[in-house]
């Protein structure tokens, strides 16, 4: 670095610009820490065992909770995963294993574009096709909107993971007399499973906090309901409603709900990360 041609001015510029990137990194970490700090401090003070077991109560009544919204969110994640994961994984397998096909390039491109479309558009789509014809909002419509968001995400992560499986493994299985479908399912998919599970978990974490599509589909529900044919409560919807209400008690509940929601998202992400780490540690 002490080459003859490096003038003082160039050295100073270098220092300043490197310093600037350090500063950018520092500034970029502030928002997350600030948000988490507020979330924990405001959320913890409003949270209690009642919050998980009680139903929402009218303003002025103490001890209300979000039991229905917590269960509703878990139901929505579950049903969306049930619908979205098999299709996403299947599509990912196709993209990775049929690399020469013309359809592959098109589907990969469209999956990326679909990933970038606003979630509110998914809500309109599900509302027009599943709510309007039936005449009422339903949990199922919400789950389908969320599944439509999961599919392109899972497709792309599955593809990346299946591609990492060495060709030799497929050849070995075929040489041993395995049929092609068995090779694909029991050797290729099995080998890439850790990464695929991670991708699936991250997609689940992502849809857990989605609010916009649910406004048009599952709507929210003040009462206890687990029926897929009826409107269902969900944490993000409840947080939205409570945050914009004029009551302090509801604001406190909004923070508590947000804390639980972020807790769910982070636990799923954390499991995904641990799964990835263990796989890399064992795989090396």
């Amino acid at each position: 670095m002490s080459a003859v041609g490096v003038t003082r001015r160039r050295r100073v510029t270098n220092r300043v610009m490197v310093g600037t990137t350090y500063a950018a990194a520092a500034v970029a970490t502030i928002p997350l820490l600030a948000i988490l700090a507020y979330l924990v401090s405001r959320g913890m003070s409003a949270i209690s065992p009642d919050f998980f077991t009680n139903m929402p109560r009218p303003v002025g009544e103490a001890g209300g909770g979000m039991a229905n919204a917590i269960v509703g969110t878990l139901i929505l994640i579950g049903v969306a995963s049930l619908l979205g994961l098999p299709i996403g994984i299947g599509a990912g397998l196709y993209l990775a294993e049929r690399r020469g096909s013309k359809l592959t390039a098109l589907v990969r491109f469209l999956a990326d574009v679909l990933n970038g479309l606003p979630s509110i558009v998914m809500g309109i789509f599900a509302w027009q096709l599943l709510v309007r014809p039936v005449g009422h909002f339903s949990a199922l419509a919400g789950a389908i909107a969320l599944a439509a968001m999961m599919i392109p995400m899972v497709t792309r992560t599955t593809e990346e993971m299946v591609r990492l499986v060495p060709t030799a493994l497929r050849e070995a299985a075929l040489a041993l007399g395995y049929s092609r479908w068995r090779t694909s399912l029991t050797v290729v998919l099995r080998t890439a499973l850790g990464g695929i599970v991670t991708g699936a978990l991250i997609a689940m974490a992502r849809i857990a906090g989605e609010t916009a599509p649910l406004l048009f589909t599952s709507l929210g529900n003040q009462f206890w309901s687990t029926s897929l044919a009826q409107p269902i409560a969900a944490l993000p919807l409840q947080v939205y409603t409570y945050a914009l209400s004029p009551y302090d008690a509801w604001h406190a509940h909004a923070w508590a709900g947000a804390l639980v929601l972020v807790g769910i998202v982070f636990v799923i992400s954390l499991v995904a990360r641990i799964a990835t780490r263990r796989r890399y540690a064992a795989g090396d």
Binding site: T21, G88, R98, F109, G116, E160, S179, R180, L215, Y240
Partner: protein
Amino acid sequence: MSEGVRDIVVPSIAPAAIDGEKRDWLEVGSGLADRVYIGAITASALVVPAILGLIFVAVAIAAWPALRTFGLAFVSTSVWNPVVGQFGAAPAIYGTIISSIIALVIATPLALGVAIFLVEFAPPWLRQPVAFTVDLLAAIPSVVYGLWGVFVLVPALSEHVMPFIADTLHLGNTPLFSGPAYGRSMLAAGLILSIMVLPYISAVTREVLLAVPRSQREAALALGATRWEMIRDAVVPYAKSGIIGGIMLGLGRALGETMAVTMLIGNRHEISASLFAPGYTMASLIANEFSEATGDLHLSALMAVGFVLLLVTFAVNALARWLVWQTSRASVAETGK
């Protein structure tokens, strides 16, 4: 540096880069079970274009009554009056553009700085924690950003930042910063959006910087460049279209972001030059008025706004994807992989 699956799905860097193998081993299978299996995964793959097609059809059908009534004037007029059945989306389109510009102006330099830091300068012990923290921003739900914005960001803006800009800096008379400091404003929406798109721009930029071949860097250093000159003259130009793709991907996010913006932008149908004034974006307009829409035409007008949003975000994302792909293709050709 590959860390497997990440929170952010980065558009594929190099479609055919993993190995040169182009032949499909699955294709050769001829048994019945093989054909059923291939049929099943092909059907799954076809679901992706099917969803996209259905989205276009569904939104277009919902938007049709309003589009037929107002035609092109829908995007150019600014009267939004459900009582007399007059709907023009210009204020929402304007608000969408302005809030996204604010977001990108703030987020882009930060995201590029973070990405360059992580790829080129960060000491190993700092790399993972910083990358993790920035990526995690993408995992926080939009509604939580909105909640934080309503109770922390908006009060801070109306009590400290806005008076500071208007009075202390004497900018209160300029059109950009005039008017009362309510807090809920275009500025608040732009700020929260900048935090939300930061991780997307930084993730893609990081990925394309990593795709720049070592030889580019070594050649610049061998010619006597400082580390910064190497980045400015050899690395960034090489990754340019990929970085622009990343910024456009962030733009796509900002244009369609709904909940946080709905909670912070103030929701008013007016075009105002002041960043302190409340406004509307396309997404926040739909989210805010959907539940209280009066009559079929109002509902359809909201869906027409959704249709415009769909067209714009589709175009932005397609272009972004293409740009990122350009960079990686060049890098694959270069390294001969």
